[in-house]
Protein backbone atom coordinates (compact mmCIF):
# COMPACT_ATOMS: atom_id res chain seq x y z
CA UNK A 1 0.00 0.00 0.00
CA UNK A 2 1.06 3.54 -0.49
CA UNK A 3 -0.16 7.03 -0.07
CA UNK A 4 -1.23 8.29 -3.45
CA UNK A 5 0.04 11.70 -4.61
CA UNK A 6 1.92 12.56 -1.45
CA UNK A 7 4.38 9.65 -1.59
CA UNK A 8 4.83 10.01 2.13
CA UNK A 9 5.15 6.30 2.55
CA UNK A 10 5.60 3.78 -0.19
CA UNK A 11 5.32 0.09 0.11
CA UNK A 12 4.78 -2.53 -2.51
CA UNK A 13 2.12 -4.48 -0.82
CA UNK A 14 0.56 -7.72 -1.99
CA UNK A 15 -2.77 -9.02 -0.84
CA UNK A 16 -2.39 -11.65 1.81
CA UNK A 17 1.16 -10.70 2.70
CA UNK A 18 1.73 -8.87 5.89
CA UNK A 19 4.74 -6.60 5.85
CA UNK A 20 4.32 -4.79 9.10
CA UNK A 21 7.98 -4.19 9.87
CA UNK A 22 8.73 -2.85 6.42
CA UNK A 23 5.79 -0.50 6.67
CA UNK A 24 6.70 0.86 10.03
CA UNK A 25 10.24 1.46 8.89
CA UNK A 26 9.12 3.30 5.80
CA UNK A 27 6.45 5.29 7.51
CA UNK A 28 8.86 7.59 9.24
CA UNK A 29 6.74 8.00 12.33
CA UNK A 30 8.77 6.66 15.19
CA UNK A 31 6.47 7.83 17.91
CA UNK A 32 7.78 5.21 20.30
CA UNK A 33 7.96 5.63 24.01
CA UNK A 34 11.73 5.45 24.29
CA UNK A 35 13.14 8.85 23.50
CA UNK A 36 16.76 9.71 24.09
CA UNK A 37 16.27 13.37 23.44
CA UNK A 38 13.76 15.47 25.29
CA UNK A 39 12.10 17.86 22.87
CA UNK A 40 11.12 21.23 24.34
CA UNK A 41 7.66 21.12 25.96
CA UNK A 42 4.77 22.10 23.72
CA UNK A 43 1.27 23.17 24.63
CA UNK A 44 -0.47 19.89 25.40
CA UNK A 45 -3.91 21.10 26.45
CA UNK A 46 -6.81 20.97 24.04
CA UNK A 47 -10.09 22.54 25.22
CA UNK A 48 -13.21 20.39 25.10
CA UNK A 49 -16.86 21.12 25.74
CA UNK A 50 -19.89 19.00 26.56
CA UNK A 51 -22.87 20.46 24.74
CA UNK A 52 -25.74 19.44 22.46
CA UNK A 53 -23.42 19.28 19.47
CA UNK A 54 -23.75 20.58 15.89
CA UNK A 55 -27.12 18.89 15.35
CA UNK A 56 -28.42 20.19 18.69
CA UNK A 57 -29.43 16.64 19.59
CA UNK A 58 -26.57 15.05 21.56
CA UNK A 59 -26.84 14.01 25.19
CA UNK A 60 -23.48 13.90 26.99
CA UNK A 61 -21.45 14.55 23.85
CA UNK A 62 -17.84 15.62 24.46
CA UNK A 63 -16.57 17.81 21.62
CA UNK A 64 -13.32 19.38 20.50
CA UNK A 65 -11.68 20.91 17.40
CA UNK A 66 -9.21 19.02 15.23
CA UNK A 67 -6.93 20.64 12.65
CA UNK A 68 -6.15 18.63 9.52
CA UNK A 69 -3.45 19.53 7.02
CA UNK A 70 -2.48 18.12 3.66
CA UNK A 71 0.59 16.09 4.67
CA UNK A 72 3.75 18.17 4.73
CA UNK A 73 1.99 21.36 3.72
CA UNK A 74 0.53 24.46 5.35
CA UNK A 75 -2.81 23.80 3.71
CA UNK A 76 -4.94 23.18 6.78
CA UNK A 77 -8.52 23.17 7.98
CA UNK A 78 -9.94 23.09 11.49
CA UNK A 79 -12.96 20.84 11.98
CA UNK A 80 -15.06 21.74 15.01
CA UNK A 81 -17.52 19.61 16.97
CA UNK A 82 -15.52 16.40 16.75
CA UNK A 83 -16.59 13.85 19.38
CA UNK A 84 -13.83 12.80 21.79
CA UNK A 85 -14.18 9.01 22.13
CA UNK A 86 -12.08 6.98 24.55
CA UNK A 87 -13.84 3.80 23.38
CA UNK A 88 -12.49 3.81 19.83
CA UNK A 89 -9.25 4.53 18.04
CA UNK A 90 -8.65 6.72 15.02
CA UNK A 91 -9.88 9.95 13.53
CA UNK A 92 -13.10 9.78 11.51
CA UNK A 93 -14.35 12.96 9.82
CA UNK A 94 -17.53 13.56 7.82
CA UNK A 95 -16.42 14.29 4.26
CA UNK A 96 -19.19 16.88 4.03
CA UNK A 97 -17.20 19.04 6.47
CA UNK A 98 -13.85 18.79 4.67
CA UNK A 99 -12.71 21.17 1.94
CA UNK A 100 -9.10 19.93 1.84
CA UNK A 101 -8.10 17.37 -0.74
CA UNK A 102 -6.24 14.67 1.15
CA UNK A 103 -4.20 11.83 -0.34
CA UNK A 104 -5.86 8.42 -0.43
CA UNK A 105 -4.16 5.33 0.93
CA UNK A 106 -4.13 2.74 -1.83
CA UNK A 107 -2.77 -0.66 -2.70
CA UNK A 108 -0.17 -0.90 -5.45
CA UNK A 109 -2.94 -1.08 -8.06
CA UNK A 110 -4.26 2.31 -6.92
CA UNK A 111 -7.34 0.82 -5.29
CA UNK A 112 -8.28 3.09 -2.41
CA UNK A 113 -8.49 1.51 1.01
CA UNK A 114 -11.99 1.71 2.54
CA UNK A 115 -13.29 1.04 6.02
CA UNK A 116 -16.63 0.15 7.56
CA UNK A 117 -16.77 0.45 11.32
CA UNK A 118 -19.91 -0.87 13.03
CA UNK A 119 -20.59 0.17 16.61
CA UNK A 120 -22.20 -2.00 19.30
CA UNK A 121 -25.63 -0.57 18.52
CA UNK A 122 -25.27 -1.66 14.89
CA UNK A 123 -24.86 1.84 13.46
CA UNK A 124 -21.92 2.16 11.11
CA UNK A 125 -19.52 4.58 9.41
CA UNK A 126 -18.32 3.89 5.88
CA UNK A 127 -15.59 5.79 4.10
CA UNK A 128 -12.20 6.03 2.45
CA UNK A 129 -8.90 5.89 4.31
CA UNK A 130 -6.87 9.05 3.63
CA UNK A 131 -3.84 10.66 5.24
CA UNK A 132 -3.50 14.04 6.96
CA UNK A 133 -1.21 15.79 9.38
CA UNK A 134 -3.22 16.13 12.57
CA UNK A 135 -2.80 19.06 14.97
CA UNK A 136 -4.23 19.15 18.47
CA UNK A 137 -3.14 21.91 20.88
CA UNK A 138 0.60 22.31 20.14
CA UNK A 139 0.98 18.67 19.21
CA UNK A 140 1.32 17.42 15.65
CA UNK A 141 1.20 13.92 14.16
CA UNK A 142 2.41 13.57 10.58
CA UNK A 143 0.58 11.71 7.84
CA UNK A 144 -2.04 10.00 9.97
CA UNK A 145 -4.41 7.54 8.25
CA UNK A 146 -7.99 8.63 8.99
CA UNK A 147 -11.47 7.72 7.78
CA UNK A 148 -13.12 10.17 5.38
CA UNK A 149 -16.73 9.27 6.13
CA UNK A 150 -18.95 8.88 3.07
CA UNK A 151 -16.16 10.14 0.83
CA UNK A 152 -17.64 11.38 -2.44
CA UNK A 153 -16.87 10.15 -5.93
CA UNK A 154 -15.61 6.71 -5.01
CA UNK A 155 -18.27 5.03 -7.16
CA UNK A 156 -18.59 2.41 -4.45
CA UNK A 157 -21.71 1.01 -2.89
CA UNK A 158 -21.61 0.19 0.82
CA UNK A 159 -20.57 -3.49 1.03
CA UNK A 160 -23.22 -5.96 2.15
CA UNK A 161 -21.12 -7.01 5.18
CA UNK A 162 -21.32 -3.40 6.30
CA UNK A 163 -25.12 -3.55 6.31
CA UNK A 164 -25.26 -6.82 8.22
CA UNK A 165 -24.73 -5.15 11.60
CA UNK A 166 -28.31 -3.97 11.20
CA UNK A 167 -27.95 -0.32 12.13
CA UNK A 168 -28.12 2.88 10.15
CA UNK A 169 -25.37 4.62 8.20
CA UNK A 170 -24.72 7.48 10.63
CA UNK A 171 -22.41 9.40 8.30
CA UNK A 172 -24.31 12.70 8.44
CA UNK A 173 -24.22 15.55 10.96
CA UNK A 174 -27.81 14.84 11.95
CA UNK A 175 -27.32 11.11 12.45
CA UNK A 176 -23.87 11.25 14.05
CA UNK A 177 -24.62 14.39 16.04
CA UNK A 178 -21.00 15.38 15.45
CA UNK A 179 -18.69 16.37 12.59
CA UNK A 180 -16.46 13.42 13.30
CA UNK A 181 -14.99 11.19 15.97
CA UNK A 182 -11.55 11.52 17.56
CA UNK A 183 -10.81 8.01 18.85
CA UNK A 184 -8.15 8.27 21.56
CA UNK A 185 -8.67 4.88 23.24
CA UNK A 186 -6.17 2.36 24.60
CA UNK A 187 -4.62 1.25 21.31
CA UNK A 188 -2.24 2.49 18.64
CA UNK A 189 -4.44 1.33 15.77
CA UNK A 190 -8.16 0.69 15.53
CA UNK A 191 -7.84 -2.94 14.54
CA UNK A 192 -4.26 -3.95 15.25
CA UNK A 193 -2.92 -7.44 14.67
CA UNK A 194 -6.37 -8.89 14.00
CA UNK A 195 -6.41 -7.13 10.62
CA UNK A 196 -2.91 -8.06 9.45
CA UNK A 197 -3.42 -11.78 8.83
CA UNK A 198 -4.38 -13.52 5.61
CA UNK A 199 -7.28 -11.70 3.99
CA UNK A 200 -9.47 -14.80 4.38
CA UNK A 201 -8.94 -14.65 8.14
CA UNK A 202 -9.27 -10.99 9.08
CA UNK A 203 -12.46 -9.45 10.49
CA UNK A 204 -14.69 -7.42 8.16
CA UNK A 205 -13.37 -3.91 8.83
CA UNK A 206 -11.15 -2.80 5.92
CA UNK A 207 -11.99 -3.25 2.24
CA UNK A 208 -10.35 -3.00 -1.15
CA UNK A 209 -12.71 -2.60 -4.08
CA UNK A 210 -11.09 -3.40 -7.46
CA UNK A 211 -13.64 -2.86 -10.24
CA UNK A 212 -16.00 -1.51 -7.56
CA UNK A 213 -16.38 -4.97 -6.00
CA UNK A 214 -15.45 -4.65 -2.34
CA UNK A 215 -13.68 -7.45 -0.51
CA UNK A 216 -12.42 -7.60 3.06
CA UNK A 217 -8.73 -6.67 3.12
CA UNK A 218 -5.74 -7.40 5.30
CA UNK A 219 -3.99 -4.13 6.20
CA UNK A 220 -0.50 -3.62 7.69
CA UNK A 221 -0.53 -1.78 11.00
CA UNK A 222 0.90 1.48 9.63
CA UNK A 223 -1.97 1.90 7.14
CA UNK A 224 -4.76 1.23 9.59
CA UNK A 225 -6.47 4.15 11.34
CA UNK A 226 -4.08 5.44 13.98
CA UNK A 227 -4.53 6.95 17.38
CA UNK A 228 -2.90 10.33 16.58
CA UNK A 229 -1.57 10.61 20.14
CA UNK A 230 0.98 7.84 19.89
CA UNK A 231 2.36 9.48 16.73
CA UNK A 232 3.15 12.77 18.49
CA UNK A 233 6.91 13.32 18.96
CA UNK A 234 6.26 13.86 22.70
CA UNK A 235 3.38 13.47 25.16
CA UNK A 236 2.61 10.28 23.25
CA UNK A 237 1.90 7.69 25.93
CA UNK A 238 -1.76 8.55 26.48
CA UNK A 239 -4.19 11.31 27.39
CA UNK A 240 -5.85 12.85 30.39
CA UNK A 241 -9.54 13.71 30.11
CA UNK A 242 -10.39 16.24 32.78
CA UNK A 243 -13.95 17.42 33.42
CA UNK A 244 -15.35 19.29 36.43
CA UNK A 245 -18.18 18.19 38.69
CA UNK A 246 -21.70 19.16 37.65
CA UNK A 247 -25.06 19.45 39.45
CA UNK A 248 -27.27 16.37 39.78
CA UNK A 249 -29.89 17.68 37.37
CA UNK A 250 -27.28 18.42 34.71
CA UNK A 251 -25.75 21.39 32.95
CA UNK A 252 -26.25 22.95 29.50
CA UNK A 253 -22.52 23.11 28.78
CA UNK A 254 -19.38 21.93 30.57
CA UNK A 255 -15.82 22.94 29.70
CA UNK A 256 -12.94 20.54 30.16
CA UNK A 257 -9.46 19.69 28.98
CA UNK A 258 -7.97 16.97 26.81
CA UNK A 259 -4.35 16.87 27.94
CA UNK A 260 -1.77 14.89 26.00
CA UNK A 261 0.78 12.70 27.74
CA UNK A 262 0.68 11.04 31.13
CA UNK A 263 3.33 12.21 33.57
CA UNK A 264 5.23 13.98 30.79
CA UNK A 265 4.61 17.57 31.86
CA UNK A 266 3.66 19.44 35.00
CA UNK A 267 -0.05 19.34 34.11
CA UNK A 268 -0.57 15.63 33.45
CA UNK A 269 0.78 13.80 36.49
CA UNK A 270 -1.28 11.00 38.00
CA UNK A 271 -1.70 12.78 41.32
CA UNK A 272 -3.84 10.49 43.45
CA UNK A 273 -5.20 8.61 40.44
CA UNK A 274 -4.57 4.86 40.48
CA UNK A 275 -3.66 2.71 37.50
CA UNK A 276 -5.90 -0.15 36.36
CA UNK A 277 -4.25 -2.21 33.64
CA UNK A 278 -6.57 -3.94 31.17
CA UNK A 279 -6.59 -7.16 29.19
CA UNK A 280 -5.44 -7.20 25.57
CA UNK A 281 -8.81 -5.83 24.48
CA UNK A 282 -9.07 -2.86 26.86
CA UNK A 283 -11.33 -4.47 29.46
CA UNK A 284 -11.10 -4.73 33.25
CA UNK A 285 -13.35 -6.24 35.88
CA UNK A 286 -16.28 -4.63 37.67
CA UNK A 287 -17.87 -6.39 40.64
CA UNK A 288 -21.43 -5.53 41.57
CA UNK A 289 -23.50 -7.34 44.23
CA UNK A 290 -20.73 -9.95 44.46
CA UNK A 291 -20.89 -10.80 40.76
CA UNK A 292 -17.79 -10.07 38.66
CA UNK A 293 -18.21 -8.72 35.13
CA UNK A 294 -14.98 -9.13 33.19
CA UNK A 295 -15.67 -6.97 30.13
CA UNK A 296 -15.94 -3.55 31.72
CA UNK A 297 -14.55 -0.46 30.06
CA UNK A 298 -14.55 3.34 30.30
CA UNK A 299 -15.98 5.08 27.25
CA UNK A 300 -16.50 8.79 26.72
CA UNK A 301 -18.35 7.81 23.52
CA UNK A 302 -21.10 6.09 25.52
CA UNK A 303 -23.43 8.77 26.80
CA UNK A 304 -24.64 7.06 29.97
CA UNK A 305 -23.70 4.61 32.68
CA UNK A 306 -24.77 1.50 30.81
CA UNK A 307 -24.90 -1.53 33.08
CA UNK A 308 -26.97 -4.63 33.78
CA UNK A 309 -30.74 -4.49 33.43
CA UNK A 310 -33.92 -3.39 35.16
CA UNK A 311 -34.73 -6.85 36.50
CA UNK A 312 -31.28 -7.44 38.00
CA UNK A 313 -31.11 -3.96 39.51
CA UNK A 314 -34.72 -3.51 40.55
CA UNK A 315 -34.65 -0.10 38.81
CA UNK A 316 -37.44 0.36 36.26
CA UNK A 317 -36.78 1.30 32.63
CA UNK A 318 -38.41 4.49 31.37
CA UNK A 319 -41.72 3.66 29.71
CA UNK A 320 -41.24 6.25 26.97
CA UNK A 321 -37.44 5.92 26.53
CA UNK A 322 -36.55 2.24 26.28
CA UNK A 323 -33.08 1.45 27.55
CA UNK A 324 -32.83 4.29 30.08
CA UNK A 325 -33.48 3.90 33.80
CA UNK A 326 -36.29 5.82 35.46
CA UNK A 327 -36.18 5.20 39.23
CA UNK A 328 -38.86 7.00 41.29
CA UNK A 329 -36.03 8.71 43.18
CA UNK A 330 -32.27 8.79 42.57
CA UNK A 331 -30.53 5.49 43.37
CA UNK A 332 -27.05 5.62 44.90
CA UNK A 333 -24.87 2.59 44.18
CA UNK A 334 -21.35 1.28 44.48
CA UNK A 335 -19.36 -1.14 42.35
CA UNK A 336 -15.74 -2.26 42.56
CA UNK A 337 -13.31 -1.92 39.67
CA UNK A 338 -10.29 -4.23 39.51
CA UNK A 339 -7.41 -3.94 37.08
CA UNK A 340 -5.35 -6.84 35.79
CA UNK A 341 -2.56 -5.46 37.97
CA UNK A 342 -4.70 -6.03 41.05
CA UNK A 343 -5.57 -2.38 41.72
CA UNK A 344 -9.04 -2.46 43.18
CA UNK A 345 -11.31 0.28 44.51
CA UNK A 346 -14.96 1.11 44.92
CA UNK A 347 -16.78 3.54 42.64
CA UNK A 348 -19.84 5.34 43.92
CA UNK A 349 -22.36 6.45 41.35
CA UNK A 350 -25.94 7.65 41.12
CA UNK A 351 -28.75 6.90 38.73
CA UNK A 352 -31.46 9.54 38.40
CA UNK A 353 -34.76 9.40 36.57
CA UNK A 354 -33.89 9.92 32.89
CA UNK A 355 -37.25 11.46 32.08
CA UNK A 356 -36.72 14.03 34.82
CA UNK A 357 -33.16 14.74 33.63
CA UNK A 358 -34.24 15.30 30.04
CA UNK A 359 -36.97 17.74 31.09
CA UNK A 360 -34.89 19.64 33.67
CA UNK A 361 -33.98 23.24 32.79
CA UNK A 362 -36.67 23.18 30.06
CA UNK A 363 -34.82 20.33 28.37
CA UNK A 364 -31.77 22.41 27.58
CA UNK A 365 -29.23 20.45 29.63
CA UNK A 366 -26.69 18.41 27.66
CA UNK A 367 -24.46 17.05 30.43
CA UNK A 368 -25.54 14.56 33.09
CA UNK A 369 -23.51 12.70 35.71
CA UNK A 370 -26.32 10.35 36.73
CA UNK A 371 -27.88 9.12 33.46
CA UNK A 372 -28.09 5.35 33.30
CA UNK A 373 -29.40 2.60 31.07
CA UNK A 374 -29.38 -1.10 30.24
CA UNK A 375 -26.32 -3.10 29.21
CA UNK A 376 -27.12 -6.65 30.28
CA UNK A 377 -24.14 -8.65 31.46
CA UNK A 378 -21.65 -5.83 31.87
CA UNK A 379 -20.54 -2.34 32.81
CA UNK A 380 -19.90 0.42 30.27
CA UNK A 381 -18.66 3.41 32.28
CA UNK A 382 -19.77 6.17 29.94
CA UNK A 383 -19.68 9.96 30.08
CA UNK A 384 -21.29 10.37 33.54
CA UNK A 385 -18.17 8.69 34.97
CA UNK A 386 -15.93 11.50 33.68
CA UNK A 387 -17.49 14.42 35.54
CA UNK A 388 -15.43 15.46 38.56
CA UNK A 389 -12.60 13.10 37.63
CA UNK A 390 -9.25 13.01 35.95
CA UNK A 391 -9.38 9.97 33.67
CA UNK A 392 -6.13 8.82 32.05
CA UNK A 393 -6.10 6.60 28.95
CA UNK A 394 -2.82 4.66 28.66
CA UNK A 395 -1.94 3.53 25.14
CA UNK A 396 -0.72 -0.01 24.39
CA UNK A 397 3.04 -0.42 24.21
CA UNK A 398 3.67 3.11 25.56
CA UNK A 399 5.33 3.54 28.92
CA UNK A 400 3.54 5.58 31.55
CA UNK A 401 4.32 6.62 35.12
CA UNK A 402 6.26 4.13 37.26
CA UNK A 403 7.16 2.16 34.13
CA UNK A 404 3.62 0.86 33.64
CA UNK A 405 3.06 -0.05 30.00
CA UNK A 406 -0.37 0.40 28.33
CA UNK A 407 -3.09 -0.54 27.86
CA UNK A 408 -4.35 0.86 31.15
CA UNK A 409 -6.79 3.31 32.70
CA UNK A 410 -6.09 5.55 35.64
CA UNK A 411 -8.54 7.79 37.40
CA UNK A 412 -8.93 9.86 40.48
CA UNK A 413 -10.72 12.94 41.74
CA UNK A 414 -10.06 16.10 39.79
CA UNK A 415 -11.32 18.05 36.87
CA UNK A 416 -11.57 21.38 38.63
CA UNK A 417 -8.32 23.23 38.35
CA UNK A 418 -6.16 21.59 35.70
CA UNK A 419 -4.34 23.99 33.45
Amino acid sequence: MKVRKGSIAKLVFSLGLSAGLLVLASCGNGGGSSTNTNPPPVSNTQPMEVNLGPANNYTNGLFTDVTLCVPGSSSCQTINNVLVDSGSVGLRILSSQVTLSLPAITDNSSNGLQECLAFADGSYLWGAVQAADVKLAGEKAASVPLQMINAPNTGLAVPSQCLSSGGANVGTVTALGANGILGIGNFRQDCGGDCTGASSQVPALYYLCPNTVCQVASVPLAFQLQNPVWLFPQDNNGVLISLPSIPADGAPTVSGSLIFGIGTQSNNGLGTARIYTTDAFGNFQTTFNNIAYSQSFIDSGSNGFYFLDAQTLGIPDCSDLPGFYCPASTVNSTATNTGLNGTTAQVSFSIANADALFSANSGSNAAFNDLGGDNPGGFDWGMPFFFGRNVFVGIEGQTGPNGVVGPYWAYGPGGASIN
Binding site: S164, S165, G166, G167, N303, G304, N375
Partner: protein
Protein backbone atom coordinates in the same frame (compact mmCIF):
# COMPACT_ATOMS: atom_id res chain seq x y z
CA UNK B 1 -41.47 -34.21 10.54
CA UNK B 2 -42.47 -32.74 7.22
CA UNK B 3 -41.20 -29.37 8.40
CA UNK B 4 -37.84 -30.85 9.32
CA UNK B 5 -37.44 -32.44 5.93
CA UNK B 6 -38.41 -29.26 4.18
CA UNK B 7 -35.88 -27.27 6.17
CA UNK B 8 -33.12 -29.76 5.49
CA UNK B 9 -33.99 -29.85 1.84
CA UNK B 10 -33.63 -26.11 1.50
CA UNK B 11 -30.18 -26.29 3.01
CA UNK B 12 -29.07 -29.23 0.93
CA UNK B 13 -30.21 -27.54 -2.24
CA UNK B 14 -28.49 -24.42 -1.07
CA UNK B 15 -31.25 -22.21 -2.36
CA UNK B 16 -31.13 -18.63 -1.22
CA UNK B 17 -31.79 -17.55 1.38
CA UNK B 18 -30.17 -20.31 3.36
CA UNK B 19 -29.34 -17.60 5.89
CA UNK B 20 -31.31 -18.75 8.85
CA UNK B 21 -30.18 -19.54 12.31
CA UNK B 22 -32.07 -18.12 15.27
CA UNK B 23 -35.42 -19.89 15.31
CA UNK B 24 -34.37 -22.35 12.62
CA UNK B 25 -33.33 -25.96 12.81
CA UNK B 26 -29.95 -26.99 14.05
CA UNK B 27 -28.79 -27.90 10.57
CA UNK B 28 -28.57 -24.18 9.77
CA UNK B 29 -25.50 -24.09 12.01
CA UNK B 30 -23.52 -25.31 9.02
CA UNK B 31 -24.25 -22.10 7.12
CA UNK B 32 -22.76 -20.14 10.01
CA UNK B 33 -19.77 -22.42 10.07
CA UNK B 34 -19.30 -21.58 6.42
CA UNK B 35 -19.61 -17.82 6.95
CA UNK B 36 -17.24 -17.88 9.91
CA UNK B 37 -14.82 -20.29 8.21
CA UNK B 38 -14.63 -21.81 11.63
CA UNK B 39 -14.42 -24.97 13.62
CA UNK B 40 -17.45 -26.38 15.38
CA UNK B 41 -17.44 -27.90 18.82
CA UNK B 42 -20.62 -29.45 20.17
CA UNK B 43 -21.56 -29.80 23.83
CA UNK B 44 -24.59 -31.71 25.09
CA UNK B 45 -25.96 -30.27 28.33
CA UNK B 46 -28.97 -31.05 30.51
CA UNK B 47 -31.99 -30.02 28.48
CA UNK B 48 -30.21 -28.38 25.53
CA UNK B 49 -27.02 -28.49 23.51
CA UNK B 50 -24.48 -25.87 22.39
CA UNK B 51 -22.65 -25.62 19.10
CA UNK B 52 -19.63 -23.39 19.40
CA UNK B 53 -18.09 -22.03 16.20
CA UNK B 54 -14.68 -20.37 16.47
CA UNK B 55 -14.02 -18.25 13.40
CA UNK B 56 -10.72 -17.54 11.71
CA UNK B 57 -10.98 -13.88 12.76
CA UNK B 58 -11.27 -14.70 16.51
CA UNK B 59 -15.07 -14.41 16.49
CA UNK B 60 -16.74 -17.03 18.68
CA UNK B 61 -20.42 -17.78 18.07
CA UNK B 62 -22.42 -20.13 20.28
CA UNK B 63 -25.75 -21.53 19.15
CA UNK B 64 -28.12 -22.98 21.72
CA UNK B 65 -30.26 -25.86 20.46
CA UNK B 66 -33.41 -27.23 22.07
CA UNK B 67 -34.22 -30.96 22.28
CA UNK B 68 -36.60 -30.34 19.36
CA UNK B 69 -33.57 -29.29 17.30
CA UNK B 70 -34.41 -25.58 17.14
CA UNK B 71 -31.84 -22.84 17.71
CA UNK B 72 -33.42 -20.86 20.57
CA UNK B 73 -30.45 -18.60 21.30
CA UNK B 74 -27.13 -17.36 19.99
CA UNK B 75 -24.25 -15.44 21.52
CA UNK B 76 -21.18 -13.83 20.04
CA UNK B 77 -17.80 -12.44 21.04
CA UNK B 78 -15.28 -10.94 18.63
CA UNK B 79 -13.12 -8.06 17.38
CA UNK B 80 -15.85 -6.54 15.17
CA UNK B 81 -19.63 -6.76 15.08
CA UNK B 82 -20.70 -10.14 13.67
CA UNK B 83 -22.91 -10.66 10.62
CA UNK B 84 -26.20 -10.32 12.46
CA UNK B 85 -28.18 -10.76 9.27
CA UNK B 86 -26.72 -14.24 9.08
CA UNK B 87 -27.07 -15.06 12.77
CA UNK B 88 -30.53 -13.60 13.42
CA UNK B 89 -32.08 -14.97 10.24
CA UNK B 90 -35.76 -14.11 10.02
CA UNK B 91 -35.50 -11.99 13.19
CA UNK B 92 -32.99 -9.63 11.57
CA UNK B 93 -35.55 -7.15 10.20
CA UNK B 94 -37.08 -6.73 13.64
CA UNK B 95 -33.63 -6.05 15.08
CA UNK B 96 -32.82 -3.70 12.20
CA UNK B 97 -35.93 -1.65 12.88
CA UNK B 98 -34.97 -1.26 16.56
CA UNK B 99 -31.34 -0.48 15.74
CA UNK B 100 -32.33 2.22 13.29
CA UNK B 101 -34.68 4.01 15.66
CA UNK B 102 -32.32 4.80 18.51
CA UNK B 103 -33.41 7.75 20.64
CA UNK B 104 -30.77 9.61 22.64
CA UNK B 105 -28.87 6.42 23.48
CA UNK B 106 -25.23 6.20 22.32
CA UNK B 107 -23.85 2.95 23.57
CA UNK B 108 -24.88 -0.68 23.77
CA UNK B 109 -28.16 -1.85 22.26
CA UNK B 110 -30.98 -3.69 24.00
CA UNK B 111 -34.08 -4.89 22.17
CA UNK B 112 -36.70 -6.63 24.28
CA UNK B 113 -40.06 -7.72 22.90
CA UNK B 114 -42.29 -10.68 23.77
CA UNK B 115 -40.96 -12.44 20.69
CA UNK B 116 -37.28 -11.47 20.51
CA UNK B 117 -34.50 -10.34 22.85
CA UNK B 118 -31.22 -8.93 21.46
CA UNK B 119 -28.40 -7.45 23.57
CA UNK B 120 -25.29 -6.05 21.91
CA UNK B 121 -22.41 -4.30 23.68
CA UNK B 122 -18.69 -3.72 23.86
CA UNK B 123 -16.30 -1.73 21.70
CA UNK B 124 -13.88 -2.20 18.81
CA UNK B 125 -11.69 -5.27 19.43
CA UNK B 126 -14.17 -6.56 22.01
CA UNK B 127 -17.81 -6.83 20.93
CA UNK B 128 -20.18 -9.25 22.59
CA UNK B 129 -23.87 -9.96 22.69
CA UNK B 130 -26.67 -12.48 22.62
CA UNK B 131 -30.12 -13.04 21.16
CA UNK B 132 -32.89 -15.45 22.00
CA UNK B 133 -36.49 -16.22 21.26
CA UNK B 134 -38.36 -16.54 24.58
CA UNK B 135 -41.04 -18.77 23.07
CA UNK B 136 -38.46 -21.34 21.97
CA UNK B 137 -36.70 -21.70 25.34
CA UNK B 138 -36.85 -25.39 26.32
CA UNK B 139 -38.85 -26.30 29.39
CA UNK B 140 -37.07 -25.35 32.63
CA UNK B 141 -34.17 -23.71 30.79
CA UNK B 142 -33.75 -20.03 31.75
CA UNK B 143 -32.64 -17.41 29.23
CA UNK B 144 -29.45 -16.93 31.30
CA UNK B 145 -27.90 -20.04 29.74
CA UNK B 146 -27.50 -18.06 26.51
CA UNK B 147 -24.29 -16.18 27.18
Amino acid sequence: MKTVLAALLVLVLGSAPAWAVLGEYESSVSSDQKYLRGEVRAMALQGYSVQQITGADRTVVKEYVSPAGLVFGISWQGPTMPDLQQLLGSSFSEFQQAAQSRVRRRGPLVLRTDRLVVESGGHLRSFHGRAYLPSLLPKNIPAEVVR
